[in-house]
């Protein structure tokens, strides 16, 4: 198991409080909430596209302070429990932190990262609906996709020197990024993302998905299968950029429930363009992204 020093673990956990959200959601939340007649579904539609806002809402609602008996796994579910006004005010407090700069000191393009996270979320949801409808919740698969790489944005923001080094190793040597991160930092983004999710008492299925999305030796679950397949589809088709270039040898490591042909799965999902274009618009990047 990777180990982080207690000091580093504490630093990363508290750092997320100060982590700004993505530009589009911050701008839109500020605009929408000036209108007293803002539609709840419009606000939810913005918040649930932002990994930082989603992470922070799930953190707050699942906290021991509140003591809800059930784990809450989506923004929509959070609205049912907290009411739209509380969600609105939480989103405003997150927006007040500021916006993530597109390029941070690690040179990591957070908007292309966002495009990757959004498309993985959307594709994971589609995969669940088509291949695992009775075994997993499509909404949970979306959240798993949106948050699976959250550890990367934490690294980029708060351990930029180390993360630059890891990104360089992944690009130059062809090693997977998570392997390079472990070499440089001592733990990879999956471990750090899961560490935070567990600390904030997210549901076990979500924590496991974040932790295991690069692990080939764990018992697969329907939700993990959908996440890993969605990640592969989006990386192979370059929907956004997770800092982890696609490698053809990964084809042999894909979950078996979808069959052997990745492109056949993509075709079975129908037209992904609409999902990708929606994500591009939200990530505020053009077709070059």
């Amino acid at each position: 198991m990777p180990q982080l020093s207690p000091e580093l673990e504490r630093r990363l956990t508290t750092a997320v409080d100060r982590m700004p959200a993505f530009p589009k959601s911050v701008q839109t939340v500020l605009e929408m909430t000036r209108n007293i007649n803002c539609l709840p579904k419009s606000l939810v539609g913005v918040i649930e596209k932002d990994p930082v806002m989603t992470m922070k809402i799930l953190r707050v609602i699942n906290s021991a302070y509140y003591g809800l008996p059930n784990k809450i796994s989506s923004v929509g579910q959070s609205v049912v429990y907290l009411g739209i006004n509380t969600i609105k005010n939480l989103a405003l407090s997150f927006a007040a932190v500021g916006i993530l700069p597109r390029f941070n000191t690690a040179g990591f393009d957070v908007q292309r990262y966002l495009l990757h996270s959004l498309t993985v979320g959307s594709v994971a949801r589609l995969l669940c609906e088509k291949y695992a409808r009775s075994e997993a919740d499509p909404g949970d698969c979306y959240v798993a996709g949106l948050l699976h790489d959250f550890g990367k944005v934490v690294f980029a923001q708060y351990m930029s020197a180390e993360f630059i080094q890891a990104l360089g190793i992944a690009t130059d040597s062809g090693k997977p990024l998570h392997v390079a991160e472990t070499e440089v930092i001592g733990a990879d983004h999956a471990y750090v993302g899961a560490l935070l999710a567990k600390k904030w008492q997210f549901g076990a299925a979500l924590v496991d998905c974040i932790r295991d999305h690069h692990a080939l030796d764990v018992e697969p679950t329907p939700m993990l299968d959908c996440l890993r397949m969605a990640d592969a589809i989006c990386r192979k088709h370059a929907f956004g950029d997770s800092g982890n270039p696609w490698r053809d040898e990964e084809l042999a490591q894909l979950p078996t429930r979808f069959g052997a042909d990745l492109e056949a799965v993509v075709a079975a999902l129908g037209d992904l363009n609409k999902h990708v274009e929606d994500a591009r618009a939200f990530a505020q990047i053009g077709t070059e992204g």
Binding site: P40, Y65, Y66, G67, G76, V80, L82, G83, T86, G139
Partner: protein
């Protein structure tokens, strides 16, 4: 267990000749357990006359349970006179606020600031304790047991179930039944509807069958479409709730502040006419109303 209504008005006090029969004070309910332990549900302006009634028998041991921190449920707190008398004990219970990230201890601190009130919290003479509640975890007050239940309002609202020697009541505080935020034609409608129905079932199970159900009925069915999202229920939604959980008696409160006594009786009669067989006794709350369970 005895229940006495000291404030039945919602939103803002509504004194005057038009409300003299039902009363103009905002929410406050006195509950006495069988061993005479005192539970006070909410500290609207109705807590002021309640406080006067307590002064005849000192020292006071009061357990105040705040459903939520909107003004009409807390504005009487600085006028709860037992707070100023040495030897009294006042324990204030309420929810954790996720937006301010503070417990119920902020409720007095916010009100007793220099610009808004002449006395500081440090100058209060009674022993004061704050208990921030965990949803679903019961608190014992004498021979009564109080259980907080999460409801639906624009701020965290805890309803309270009180049980004592086999008798029970539930007070919603302010509550609007959940609505689907999506239109039926939206892709997200079915998924959200399933969550709403699950939440409703959870709430019904948490309230359980009760001898007395006290519910926020601020609006009529006809008024409601203009008030969606304001966090209040109607006579019809309260009757539906009473039927679902198997309440023996339903007490309608949090009357809309512009509603006169005559209007209140009129809309109440219309609601009853829509539900000729409601399955329980239904009453309108009025200041001074006492119910023995």
């Amino acid at each position: 267990m005895k229940v006495k209504m000291w404030g039945v008005r919602g939103s803002i006090p509504a004194p005057g000749p038009r409300t003299v029969r039902y009363g103009g004070n905002t929410t406050c309910i006195e509950v006495r357990s069988d061993d005479d332990s005192l539970v006070i549900l909410d500290a609207g302006t109705g807590i002021f006359p309640l406080a006067q009634s307590l002064l005849a028998r000192l020292p006071v041991q009061a357990n105040i349970f705040i459903t939520h921190t909107h003004w009409d449920h807390i504005q009487g707190l600085p006028f709860f006179v037992p707070l100023y008398i040495p030897g009294n004990q006042v324990c204030i219970h309420g929810a954790f606020d996720l937006v301010s990230m503070q417990g119920i201890e902020q409720v007095m601190n916010v009100q007793l600031q220099y610009s808004y009130f002449p006395i500081r919290e440090a100058e209060l003479k009674a022993g004061i304790e704050y208990v921030t509640l965990t949803i679903g975890e019961s608190v014992n007050i004498g021979d009564a047991r109080v259980t907080p239940v999460l409801l639906n309002h624009p701020v965290t609202d805890l309803g309270y179930r009180i049980e004592c020697n086999g008798k029970s009541l539930f007070f919603t505080g302010d509550h609007e039944p959940w609505l689907n935020i999506y239109a039926p034609e939206d892709d997200e409608y079915a998924e959200y509807q399933a969550m709403v129905e699950q939440r409703q079932a959870e709430l019904d199970a948490a309230i359980g069958p009760v001898d007395l159900l006290i519910v926020d009925t601020a609006y009529t069915q006809a008024e409601y479409p203009q008030k969606i999202g304001w966090g209040h229920g109607t006579y019809d939604t309260a009757i539906a709730m009473a039927r679902r959980i198997g309440a023996k008696r339903l007490l309608c409160t949090h009357h809309e502040p512009t509603r006169s006594d005559d209007d209140l009786e009129k809309v109440f009669a219309e609601a009853l006419a829509r539900h000729p067989d409601p399955g329980c006794e239904i009453l309108l709350a009025s200041e001074g109303l006492e119910i023995v369970l």
